[in-house]
Symmetry: C2
Subunit: 436 residues, 2 copies
Amino acid sequence: MDGAGQLDVMLVHRMRNMRPFKSLAARLVTSRQGLCSPFKSRQGLCSPATNQQSDEVRTLLQVFVDTHFISPGETNVGLFGRGLSCSYGPLGMELRRNVLHEWWSSVTGSRAQVFGINTPSSTCGHLDMTHLDRTPCDHMLRNNLLHGALEQFVPSFELVNKNLPFGLAETGRCFHSSKDDGSAEVTLASLVWFCSPRTSSQWLDHWAGQRLKWWRKFALAPCDFSSSDVPQEELEGPASRGVKIFYKFPWGQEPLEVLWSRGDGELMDAHTGVRSKLLSPNGRKSIPHVVSITGKVERGLLAFLCNSLHLHKREDARQRKMLKLHPLLAPIKVALGIGRGATMELRQVCEGLLQELKEAKISVWPGHLEATSTPLEQLHSKYDEMGVLFSAVISDKTLESGLLLVRSRDTAIKETMHISHLKNFLCRYISAADNM
Amino acid sequence: MDGAGQLDVMLVHRMRNMRPFKSLAARLVTSRQGLCSPFKSRQGLCSPATNQQSDEVRTLLQVFVDTHFISPGETNVGLFGRGLSCSYGPLGMELRRNVLHEWWSSVTGSRAQVFGINTPSSTCGHLDMTHLDRTPCDHMLRNNLLHGALEQFVPSFELVNKNLPFGLAETGRCFHSSKDDGSAEVTLASLVWFCSPRTSSQWLDHWAGQRLKWWRKFALAPCDFSSSDVPQEELEGPASRGVKIFYKFPWGQEPLEVLWSRGDGELMDAHTGVRSKLLSPNGRKSIPHVVSITGKVERGLLAFLCNSLHLHKREDARQRKMLKLHPLLAPIKVALGIGRGATMELRQVCEGLLQELKEAKISVWPGHLEATSTPLEQLHSKYDEMGVLFSAVISDKTLESGLLLVRSRDTAIKETMHISHLKNFLCRYISAADNM
């Protein structure tokens, strides 16, 4: 069992990283010349996509509706395609949680001196209640997380005994607006890093490297994630340097994360009058410099989804869609199902197993609640499209001998396993994927 | 080591649940007659608190500023005291994460049929960009999470093959307003439960019981958390029954969570025109009934903080403040510190240990970065106030024999332990607390 499990992990590693077929995303949008997001055309940023391209991208996005990643509706799908906050279905919600969790662990876990903070998304104004569900507002809504972190600088600096460097991390909703596009909501993942002036450029490089490594860790095709320095003429605000991390979407390259070396001006502006509290006691007294790292969560989700969606040619020449999401990101680790046997008894076994897995924090799909008439082959296709890592079938054999059949998404190999081993097998598999 | 660990867990369990001293919260606000939140008086809900009471509550809240749970500033502290979203310091942020995590696990883990969803917090309107950081808006901001869930009903219902009951869970920021109080932001934790009409009352009772049990699981003084049926004359909207879960704050009782049995009206309103999609196929065709469960996260945090803040009389008759937060909620599980020995070498050992603990997802305080001149006794007091579960001191003895000294917050007992055992000891301790 142990040996088989290990073998499986290695096998999965190889399988997941083989790319014998062109990605579905690439097939759906075949021509890459002059491509841009069909949704972008509204902003006039690039020439409008052709109708054919639009249709193809729509087909691509519809896959994510059909598999419960995003909620139906043209507006909703449009928001998601533009990398904006939308209504997520259960799988998208779980994927979003997993991505935020991994971002958080990587940023706060990598250094002793990163602290999490949480700031309100609005500055309160006065408003009238007009409607049961939604209230129009004169809130001043934030459009980034930088200023919340700058405001938190002084108590945090005291917390670390005025030692540099240190960072403040926060994830949260922000509100953007443009003249052409109305207003929109995005989730940002922000690390604001405070360091000595002479090290700020090194830290920018350090974090750019770390962040690119992070994106690529979860990618099936790491080369589609890239980073490049922002040209001098495109530097924003007070920034002296910048690095962007891009993903090559079927409709063109878009930034997922932006890093700026911002100097000390904004920190000073946020603390006029108490400037002495900004000074580091050691060596030459100077105001810390700020490096900001801002990830766009929704666009990141879209990148991971596009990156892991693949076509698999079957022997009968029909195509099978597969969502080969990284094991840590896959919203569902295992789906339970019932095979031949007394349905009532098998369901009870499933319920027990489901509780055991849930207690071990393994996200599990209650496939045993589905109509029993669905052919197994059809269920497997469905689970592959949903990116479910494994499916386990409980049958009368399980009642006799405790054995169940476990099928891997990535290899399609079925393995017989004792029901008491499933939990540990999954835990080991997921933790192996973490260290891959 | 194992035996000692087990013993310690049991000991901690007993210690944490002993209440030899009056809680600090109760001492600070001694008179309970006619008390109410000093912050509430602005809303005219009850007679203004006396100045003395205000001062006492302010002293109470200041403790949470001093220990990095909330950010400084009178406005910020005022928001927190009223159970509204505020700026959290690193410890408050981590506490909030832990509370949300535990809520989520308990709600989605308890039943196969609870799915997570994630909906935008605003309906987009058109707006103009006016300011770098904040944008005034004509967004329609949500004031609850119910309507997002009702809109998600149809695809979710199909997902479960139209089997009832099932639930949709979401946590997120909502925006409230009142004529007297301006506008405010709160984090809500919502479960919307869909069930057959004849079972809705039973489900209300089921969830009320579950939720009360959850609050009490993390309490030091469970009896301060209570639940009661909402009287007929106070039922809101379409609700036919309601249950509220209360916490007895020093300034009076306030609701932490509200459960309503809402009937089918709102679900029908959200899906006019596609009513057939609402019908359950089995038995008598009927529209599902809705039970809503809504927790106020910020007020819950305040309740847990007040509940676990305690005075401890020392032998020298001076008082020691302690924050006996539940091990699962405590933002920091262990603080590292250095004792006698070569500082540079000891710091290196600490850095290695810190990385090991972080990789095991144990939140650790880098106390070895603090000024070495602080007396150990003073550090312990500080950590107790911050609710840090354990502190571990690395000294020249550690370099010689691998042994370090581990002190428990709740017992103040110091135990010698090999450095290689610390991680497992903490993991076991936290998991034992989960099953307590």
